[in-house]
Amino acid sequence: MILYLLCFILLLIGLYGVITKRDLIKIILSLAIMEYAANLFLVLFAYRKGGTYPILEEGREIAMMVDPLPQALVLTSIVIELGITAMLVALAVRLYQKYNTFDITKIRRLAG
């Protein structure tokens, strides 16, 4: 249970960072923390006490393997996050080119 709580706290730390930080790069990093917390959560609930890795090899029994599906989901979501993070970094670089700053409070051409 304590692990789930820590995972949730990690998610909140990321959310806090996204909301309060003013630097574009810090916002991207906070988003990454948030996404890692979600991934961690997925891996965490698939775990069980004494479970082993879910890879079939010669002479291994299936009984004590952990659930492989959430791990597959996490792999997929990591790939997606890679794409989104690359996109965000590219946008941040372009914003820096146009405004000469990473400070989000100074990037305000769109009102309201």
Binding site: E57, V79, A86, V89, A90, V93
Partner: protein
């Protein structure tokens, strides 16, 4: 402007000596995707890192001489199309998209599990090219920015 021409001689020499080993490991991971952890994505990332290692050590111009950037770009889209073609062949042969239309082979052998190794190789190429172009494109931004100032 030092970055444009790469890093010092020490880094370059190490890269020169080790780049083939990184490539080999990437191919190993891709080929064994259906037997061990890893697979197309992980192996593709390793391949891309080998290319990026060279790019960081030697700079952009030398990388352009070493690998054909246009060919890599074409390979990226071609690999996606190949993936879809393998999937559509599944419709044609077995009746549903991405169905495994090759024979499964013996369990735990290298040449087994039908189309999955083929798809792994295709994904590996796609990820390698894609990830390489992400960093490549970001480094173009960098140079433009310096030129503007």
């Amino acid at each position: 402007m030092k970055e444009k021409h790469g890093m010092t001689l020490i880094v370059r020499t190490i890269t020169r000596i080790s780049v083939w080993l990184i490539f080999l490991y990437g191919f190993y991971i891709i080929f064994h995707g259906h037997l061990t952890p890893g697979g197309g994505f992980a192996g593709g990332v390793i391949l891309a890192l080998a290319l990026l290692n060279y790019m960081l050590a030697y700079g952009r111009e030398k990388t352009e001489n070493w690998i054909n950037i246009n060919l890599l770009h074409d390979m990226e889209s071609a690999s996606a199309i190949l993936f879809l073609i393998v999937g559509i062949l599944g419709i044609a042969i077995s009746g549903s998209f991405l169905a495994n239309w090759l024979s499964g082979g013996k369990l735990f052998a290298l040449f087994s599990s039908g189309t999955i190794p083929i798809l792994n190789i295709i994904i590996g190429i796609k990820v390698c090219a894609g990830l390489f172009f992400v960093v490549w494109t970001l480094s173009i931004f960098h140079i433009e920015e310096e030129a503007e100032e």
